[in-house]
Symmetry: C2
Subunit: 189 residues, 2 copies
């Protein structure tokens, strides 16, 4: 996000080419979440990646040895219209399916628990080669994972049971539009 | 949390003396949240502290220079009975009041936004010398902060407008009991 001297916030980044090519999914979602926050639409953040801290230089308040840890939950959560929102975002270069290896077992477990506790859980998947980004409800991901038959979710499943996110400029990836129309409409607490 | 060979989870830590003395607030809340999660009561986590990464040793996947950053949100969030829960936890050695300097301006801003988006926002404050821990609704904190008259919230305000958390053994600091009784009862979405 760029702040200009007049205080107007510009939610853009130079696009390398058409669509969002050149901008990764995480960046697009972060920009979208900043837009949601600044326009009082929702309060959704990416969680920091946990680190295992081994050594500090306390005098300089500097971390001198640490390692990234596997997050035990999903990357994003927050609140929208009183609903708890929780999701994981992944990109794939695979054009025909989304490999389940991209989602860890404890993340599946986490998404299941979000549903149990009446939150709204889903994944956002970017098919890079198709330049298409989908919301897939977590229950579909869980079904595939637990069936254990396939190692991936077919692209066709995203067409049939997922929802394509319309890409925009200021509002890069308006995934909450889908949450509004497809989840909250018949979401009973 | 200790996992014993028989798989039974024990939510304890040796207590140094009476009460929770010797155990800090964060540790007590983490143990409580683990209890909530394992017993399918709620899904609440402490967010990792964000770091500013300066230098990596990529071969060893080791962080060799990084600094802790000021979190722009609160420390804890999650979902309980479909409600979005968001809070900050602080300890004080001050026996008569809670210094507002403990809460940063952007955290106050964040708590305000949580309320706007219909989440449940509060702070948990441990008065170490009294060995008492309170839930104080975020709107009270915001009022004090914005009034700008005092630099602290009197202990008396915690008695009058806050709710003392009952301390237990397995369920160390059952703050959700208060959320249930005092927030959700008349919490309209």
């Amino acid at each position: 996000m760029i702040s200009y001297p007049n205080g107007k916030k510009i939610y853009n980044k130079p696009l390398i080419s058409s669509g969002n090519r050149g901008m990764d999914l995480e960046e697009s979602i972060n920009i979208t979440n900043a837009y949601y926050r600044d326009n009082n639409i929702a309060l959704i953040y990416k969680k920091p990646t946990p680190i295992k801290l081994v050594k500090m230089d306390y005098e300089k308040a500097k971390i001198v040895e640490a390692y990234f840890e596997q997050p035990s939950t999903t990357d994003y959560n927050g609140v929208y219209k009183g609903y708890y929102i929780d999701f994981e975002a992944k990109e794939t270069n695979n054009a025909t399916s989304f490999p389940l290896a991209n989602i860890h077992a404890h993340q599946i477990e986490h998404l299941k628990k979000v549903i149990e506790h009446k939150g709204i859980a889903f994944i956002i998947v970017s098919f890079r080669k198709k330049e298409e980004v989908y919301v897939l409800p977590a229950n579909i991901v869980i079904q595939f994972y637990e069936a254990g038959v396939r190692k991936s979710i077919p692209y066709q499943t995203f067409i049939e049971k997922g929802f394509k996110i319309k890409e925009g400029y200021a509002l890069r990836l308006d995934y909450l539009k889908i949450i509004d129309e497809k989840f909250i409409k018949d979401f009973s607490k």
